[in-house]
Every structure is written in C-alpha cells, then in structure tokens.
C-alpha cells in the first residue's frame, strides 16, 4: 500500500518535471532558433543574441511598471497587456538585432571568421553594460499580472501561464516554418544559406535577406523575453548570458543551422535540466552541469548534432 502510494506520487513528480521542462524548453527553443537561423545564413555565432533577448525583458519590464500591470488582470485587459508587451518586446529585440548586424557584423563579412566573433562578444558586453547602467546590477521583481491559476491532471499541476507559454511558442514556431518553406523571402533565406553567390545570381538581395534573418531571429528572442520574465518573475541585466549559452547549446545539440533541430534541442535541454533537478541529489545546484554532461556525450557520438546533416566540405 505504502509502496503503491509512493510510486504514484513518484510518477506524478516525474510528469511534473516533464511539464516544467517543456515550459522552459519552449523558451530555450525560441532563443535557440535565433542562433541557428543566423549561423545557417552567415556561419556566425551571434554571441550577442542572449543579450538581445535580455533587452526585451528590461524594456517590457519598464513598460509593465509604467502602466501599473501590478495586479492580476483578466479579460480584455489581460489580452491587451499581453499583446502590448509582446509587440514591444518583439520590436525591441528584432530592431536591435538588425541594427547589430548592420553596424557590427556586415562591415566584417569578408574578414577572417574569428573577427566577427570577437565583434559579437564585444556587442554582448556593450548591451549588458548599458542595461546595467540603466537598471542597476540587482535583479528586479517582474510584476505579476497573469492569472496564477492552474489546472490539475492527476498529480501534475499545469499553470495557465505554462499553457500560454507553450501555445505561444508553438504558434511562433509553426509560423516560422510556414515562412521558411512557403514564402519568397523564406526560400531566399534557404537559398542564401546554401549558396549565397548563386542566390545573388537569381536576383536575391543578399544583404536584405541577411537583415530579414536577423529580424526574425530577434523577434523570436523578443517574444521569449516577454514570456521568460513572466515565468521567472524577475529581470536582471545579465540574464541573457546564461540563457543565451543554454539556447546556443540547444542549437548545437539539434544540429546548428537546422531549424527543427533547434526546437528539439531546446525542449530536450529543458526537460533534462528539470529531471536532473528532481532526481540527482542536490540536483538544483548543478542541473545545468548535468545537462551539459549529457550534451557532451551526445555530441561525441553525433558531432553534427541530432538532426544536423553530415555536410560535405564546401567546394
């Protein structure tokens, strides 16, 4: 009897951690897409991408504070608040990302590959420093305005917020997929990723296509910033560093340059992290260490990532 009860509670805990992992994994996946899209098209690790995400969190925090979103909203007020924050967060990160490419990467496109990488690290520091000057070094509580109710399935609690995060992330990912596979700009992006010179000779404006890629990657990170703040209830100037590293890792795990891979990698890292928190003694302290250890193992056996293809050398 006792054993049965314990095991049923155990199953509940397991699925609770899966639920947690899927939610944070959805956020990782959105950020990870920005790394993979940019890498796919110009083979640059955009180290500033995590900070582009962070800027969405601090700008939308400011807006939420100004508009006093400090009590739980409902109905149209809630929908309006969410739409407003999403639009502002997405616009902030998208335009910031396009601007960074224009100023810090484009002039270096023909430089040796290490040079734009250093430029990206530099941009990352600048974005963090400016954010710290503006918001200070401490974490700031993010106002709670989303209903805190939850539904319960067996022993698993699923907050409404987690459902919102998951649905929004999936809608954005499906939208991205439709964009890439069905539209002229999406085709131009894929063509440019495969052979920029041949794409240009088909009339594709390469600079513009690269700008669109940064715009979309930034927009996804901006949306992620809004929901991450609501999820973690706090905002800090350096949040983009750690989250960016995890999302970058997710992109590599899935196969960098591969869009489906980034999504898979994001969810996998989220879930592994959550399970580690639960099942490894004192796991909360080193859940990321465990996640990365697993990552290293996977990459030893599949160096091009889970969905990455073994690409022959470029001619």
């Amino acid at each position: 009897m006792h054993v049965l009860a314990a095991s049923s509670a155990g199953v509940g805990l397991f699925f609770q951690q899966i639920e947690n992992g899927v939610t944070i994994g959805a956020i990782y996946a959105l950020v990870s897409l920005g790394y993979t899209l940019v890498y796919g098209i110009i083979e640059l690790i955009n180290f500033a991408h995590g900070d582009v995400f962070m800027w969405s969190t601090i700008v939308t925090l400011t807006v939420a504070q100004l508009l006093h979103f400090d009590h739980v909203l409902g109905g149209f007020a809630l929908v309006g608040a969410l739409l407003l924050l999403l639009i502002i967060g997405i616009a902030t990160s998208a335009l910031l990302n396009v601007g960074i490419e224009r100023v810090a990467y484009r002039p270096l496109r023909r430089a040796p590959r290490l040079i734009p990488l250093i430029s990206a690290i530099g941009v990352s520091f600048i974005l963090e420093n400016v954010a710290q000057l503006w918001k200070g070094a401490n974490s700031i509580a993010y106002p709670v305005f989303f209903p805190t109710d939850a539904i319960t399935l067996g022993n698993v609690t699923i907050p409404f917020l987690d459902i919102f995060i998951f649905v929004l992330a999936v809608v954005l990912m499906v939208g991205l997929n439709v964009f890439i596979t069905r539209t002229r700009l999406g085709r131009a992006m894929r063509a440019t990723a495969q052979d920029p010179e041949a794409a240009a000779l088909m009339g594709v404006n390469i600079n513009r296509t690269i700008s669109v890629t940064f715009l979309i990657g930034g927009a996804l990170a901006g949306a992620a910033g809004v929901i991450y703040s609501m999820y973690s209830n706090s905002v800090i100037f350096n949040s983009g560093f750690e989250l960016g590293l995890i999302a970058f890792t997710a992109a590599v795990l899935g196969g960098i340059g591969n869009v489906q891979g980034a999504v898979l990698g994001g969810f996998l890292i989220g879930i592994i992290e959550s399970l580690a928190t639960q099942y490894v003694p004192n796991g909360i302290a080193w859940s990321q260490g465990i996640a990365f250890a697993i990552l290293i193992l996977i990459l030893i056996f599949r160096p091009s990532g889970l969905l990455g293809q073994q690409v022959p050398d470029k001619v």
């Binding site: 002229r184 700009l185 041949a198 794409a199 240009a200 000779l201 009339g203 404006n205 001619v315």
Partner: protein
C-alpha cells in the same frame, strides 16, 4: 524593393554601328594580383544571337561570365547592356537588368526541390515585403499563383519526365536533369540574355544532342540571346552564330564557325602549342 534596376544613366553614343548590340564589352581587363585573367577583351553580342566563347582551360572564359554577372568587378573596361553600364553592379542587380546564368559546376540549391529551385529563380517576380507575406493580400496571392504556373511551364519545356521530378530534391537528380533544372531556374527571371557555362560538360553523345536541341529551342521559343562557354567543338560549331576564341585571357580570334575552323592561331591554341620553354 524596386523592380527597376538602378542604373547610373551612363549611355554610349550609338556610334556608327547599324544596331546597338544587346551586350557590349569594351576593352575589359581583369587582374588578380599579378595575374591577368582577362586581357583587353572586346565583344559585341547582338540580340538573338547564340554567341560562343571557346578556348583552352584557363583561358579566362568563366572569368568573362563572372565579370558580366557582377561576381567580379573589371579592373578596366566597360560592360554595357542595351547601352547601359553594368560595371560594378552586384549580381542581383545584373539579374534584374536581364542577364541570367548557369554554372560550370552545377550550383543548384540541393536541399530544395526542383520546383523550389525554379521558384527561387522567380524571386524577382514575387512580392517580398513582410506585410504582404503576413497578410497575403490578393495581389500577393495572384503573383504567387502566376509564379507557380510559370515554374511549371518552364519545367514542362523540358518534357513530362522533368515535370514528374518536380518534388524531388535537386541532389537526387541525374546529372543531365540537374543541368536542365539549372537552365529552367535561370530562365525563370525571363532574362534577355542567358549565359550557359559548359552546358554539355560530362554528358554523353545523346545527352549532348538533346542539350543542343533545347538550347536552340530556348532561343526560338523565348527569344533569349544566348552566350555559351563550350569545350566540345561539335556543339559550338553546330549552333553558334558567332564565336570568340580566348587564349591566356586574350581574344585571339572572332568570327562565324567556318572562319574559326580555318584560323591558324585557333588550331595552334587547341592542338599544337609547344610546351613553354623552362
């Protein structure tokens, strides 16, 4: 985005020529460091011609194509399309001005289907601003529909077997079919001028004969002017209106096929050059 190529308005006087050539290349030179890959080459390609460039390996033929299409910028000299300068234009602007090309080593987008490859060729015919992509207004939909019809038409130009392969990934096609997809993709932009870089390379005799057939049919059906780089003399001699011969970057001869076949310098360049003295 404008569909009009940005031109610098530079025009040349009609000179005394009876008709302005479609493409005029005037004293074009390209140096890479100390190497002169193209040396003071002048070519006039008239509208409706099939114009071939021949010459031994390394003679600078592909470099000429790369200069025309904006991949390289000429060190000296002019390139004029319909009397307007193309010098220094980027490849996408040259394409919009009306020059499309294929590559010596086929460069299809291998992770895309045959149909998608041709659709990329139709890039300039479609609306691409984010607003129309998101809201899909009627003009956007009708342009997409026309593009798809055009892509199908171009594939059917190469026969029902090509149409049947439309959803196949480009990388899965046989060599001869990949060449055809590349031509269909280049023709998608409705160019005034089509540059074919060794369209029969690696093909057997029957495939070569088919390729000769479709090159002639392209001109007849679409009125496109064709510039050809070709190693097989039976191809160039059979279909060219005019042939220019390059050797070490210099034009050593130009004329109709019969003239080229008799030209001593050409015969020497092809058959009997003595090894350079060490």
């Amino acid at each position: 985005m404008t569909n009009q190529p940005v031109m610098d308005g530079q025009t040349v006087p009609p000179a005394n020529a009876p008709a302005t050539p479609l493409l005029a290349i005037n004293s074009m030179t390209k140096q890479f460091g100390g190497l002169t890959a193209v040396d003071d080459v002048t070519l006039d390609i008239k509208r409706g011609q099939i114009f071939s460039i021949i010459g031994p390996n390394g003679a600078g033929k592909t470099t000429v194509f790369n200069l025309i299409t904006g991949i390289y910028k000429p060190t000296r000299g002019q390139i004029l399309l319909n009397g307007r300068s193309l010098g220094g234009k980027t490849p996408d602007v040259v394409l919009r001005a009306g020059i499309a090309r294929t590559f010596q080593n086929i460069r299809l987008f291998n992770n895309m289907t045959v149909f998608e490859n041709v659709l990329v060729g139709l890039h300039t015919k479609l609306h691409g601003d984010l607003i129309s992509v998101i809201f899909r207004p009627p003009y956007y939909r009708s342009a997409e529909k026309r593009a798809r019809e055009r892509a199908m038409e171009l594939l059917s130009f190469f026969g029902p077997s090509m149409v049947a392969l439309k959803d196949e990934y480009a990388s899965n096609l046989s060599y001869a079919y990949r060449r055809r997809v590349e031509v269909a993709r280049a023709m998608a932009s409705s160019p005034q001028m089509l540059l074919l870089d060794e369209p029969t390379a690696g093909m057997n005799d029957s495939e070569t004969a088919e390729a000769i057939g479709y090159i002639q049919q392209l001109r007849a059906q679409y009125g496109v002017t064709i510039m050809l780089i070709e190693h097989k003399l039976q191809v160039t001699m059979g279909i060219s209106d005019q042939i220019a011969v390059l050797d070490y970057g210099k034009k050593i001869a130009e004329g109709v096929p019969a003239e080229i076949q008799r030209n001593e310098q050409v015969i020497e360049a092809y058959l009997g050059r003595k090894a350079p003295v060490e």
